[in-house]
Symmetry: none
């Protein structure tokens, strides 16, 4: 059905064929392949490619930013670790000395590492669940 070759996809999306391959290597838009290995861009991929351009331009993002967002969404433990880092200094009791606070954070740090190293998280479970619900 409706699937375009890389050159046709390039023409309708505004990206160069070279960049379409680069975007694929970045894990952002992965077209299907024909039996002989040709990239086949369907409507979904074309749509994503067009909106990707707008996204980058509107917020002045780099491709690597969006690639990182993708990692954030489905890399195991990464999201939790980043989340933990942002909220790290949040819950300090006011009546402790600076030394106590330092020790407290050190402990917290170790707890964070334990979390980051944990093998599975809810996000991944949900994804696996979804994949298996065929």
């Amino acid at each position: 059905m409706a699937s375009l070759t890389i050159q046709e996809a390039a023409e309708t999306t505004g990206w160069s064929p070279r960049m379409l391959r680069y975007i694929e290597a970045s894990g952002l838009v992965t077209p299907a392949r024909s039996a002989s290995g040709y990239r086949l861009y369907g409507p979904a991929e074309l749509q994503r490619l067009r909106t990707l351009g707008e996204l980058l331009e509107r917020f002045d993002l780099a491709l690597s930013d969006v690639a990182f967002a993708a990692r954030l969404a489905d890399s195991d433990g990464l999201f939790e670790a980043v989340q933990e880092w942002f909220s790290a200094p949040a819950s300090r009791p006011e009546d402790v000395s600076a030394d106590d606070w330092l020790r407290f954070e050190q402990d917290k740090h170790e707890r964070l590492l334990a979390v980051a190293g944990r093998r599975s998280n809810e996000l991944e479970l949900m994804e696996n669940e979804l994949m298996e619900s065929r």
Copy 2:
């Protein structure tokens, strides 16, 4: 002794003074300032600097990745736009229905919003408070 100068902070965190300024320019760790403009690193900043190093190493991230995560958390509209892009019908397993996918993305969205909302409230205030007691 609630705060260290940049050189002292560098010694206890492992970053160079140069990098501490760079990290500040990236918006990742912003120390308070003395009346004459000196950077004052408190326990909260020191802790964030230490955990930042671990975070980068553990997940092989770049500073720009974490900086982008920060933008994602507190730049209004950015998160929604990125989220929207990922939610758009794109290359995904055909056996996942669009409804399931959307519901899944919505859940992810809420998880991320939880971080975004939690960020940048009490912590900065508390840190600045701490700084002024010098």
